[in-house]
Subunit: 217 residues, 2 copies
DNA sequence: ATACAATTAAAACAGATGTTTGAATATAAG
DNA sequence: CTTATATTCAAACATCTGTTTTAATTGTAT
């Protein structure tokens, strides 16, 4: 049967991607060897180059698998906000836009257990010192950032382009940092007794950035 | 003479540290080889292990050289704020505390030309996927963060420990991200025509985080 | 069953990595 | 100058890296 064949094929591919996501998130791109990935996945070393072609393409696949549905959800929520605003003949609300941008990242990480690593991975990809990682990531993120920028300009027409640009980047920085702290092996950072419950963090974060975003001047 | 000897010794040591700082900032810890460092420094490969013992110790030295005076300056400003507040029998102001924490990083980078790299380096060390980097960095930062936490708790007694903790981390995340964008080879990120002037960024940043910090609840 | 393609497996590849070694050189003191 | 110490240097070390190769195995149709 055709089903059987393709199932087996995608099984190894998926194992590799899962293992890679896990390892990349914890040790970074440079810090993860193909042997560590294939070892964890329980497949042969050569399988990576057979199925993906190279380590770099594997990384792209790992990132894209999560970022694509993530940004789709963000777009959906952006349009929802725009539609509602038009109906009410109002400007879209900054806080809603930020929620639409931030919440999906964390909730995607909660739904699929495997994608807990992906929160860390994304949080790090944003700033990875390795050119490969950063360029791949920015390639996937540029368009959604520009949409975010546009929406926010509509929501806060009193602010200059520069101010919006920088505040959005502060937002992303704060978000990425929160994502990393929320990662499994970073709880070390938290003070003893500090709540690291995800949904609470999201609320704190959104409150924080929307206040900063809406500051006068 | 003793002077001559120690001058020569520290000369190679300094060259190595400068080169290492430059390379670590651009390519990360894992992404930088000792050969790249010694090549740039114009010294022999073995010099690193002779003078520092290992790549890891070199990293610690590079970080410590900048972080020590940086945190000294932060402490000085913290105490200044405390003294002034006591004189006026008022609580210390959150915005001043944030300025005391944030400004020195950027200004240190502007004074010494070589330490422009260090802004990037610090910005990345905060989140480097490599355990070595992150643990070394946190070791040096823990005490100053706790002081920051204490000061902020005095400034904003209405907020819970959790809220202050998280908001300070959002602040650090935003700051680190800003530091990375300000780095030489990351301007790619900025929209065309966006001002990347350092002092302007600092002002935007402080405005942003102090608004977020002081949000009710 | 046979032939064909897709996948897996083990081994080897060339190159880069941090570190060590032992000889050569420079510097200081006696 | 001579000796002792500190530093530099080139070379080699063992190990790890991503990738390629070649053979064996598997699955799927004819």
């Amino acid at each position: 049967m055709n089903k059987r064949k393709s199932l087996i094929r995608t099984d190894t591919k998926h194992s590799i991607m899962d293992a890679a996501e896990y390892m990349f998130a914890r040790n970074g791109y440079k810090g993860t060897s193909l042997r560590a990935i294939t070892g964890r996945a329980g497949v042969n070393l050569a399988a990576v180059n057979y199925h993906f072609g190279s380590k770099k393409v594997l990384l792209e696949a790992v990132l894209l698998r999560r970022i694509q549905p993530l940004n789709l959800e963000r777009r959906r929520r952006f349009e929802e906000i725009r539609d509602n605003a038009r109906k009410l003949r109002k400007k879209p609300e900054a806080e809603l836009i930020l929620k639409a941008f931030i919440e999906p990242v964390f909730y995607f990480g909660e739904s699929d257990p495997g994608s807990k690593d992906f929160i860390t991975l994304i949080g790090r990809a944003i700033v990875d010192p390795d050119d490969t990682v950063r360029k791949v990531f920015h390639k996937f993120m540029r368009s959604i950032f520009e949409l975010l920028f546009k929406m926010m300009s509509e929501a806060l027409p009193g602010l200059s382009r520069d101010v919006i640009f920088w505040r959005l980047h502060f937002t992303i920085g704060a978000m990425a940092h929160a994502m990393r702290i929320c990662s499994p092996d970073m709880k070390e950072l938290a003070h003893s007794g500090t709540a690291t419950d995800t949904s609470a963090v999201i609320e704190h974060l959104i409150r924080f950035v929307s206040k900063g975003m809406k500051a006068r001047r």
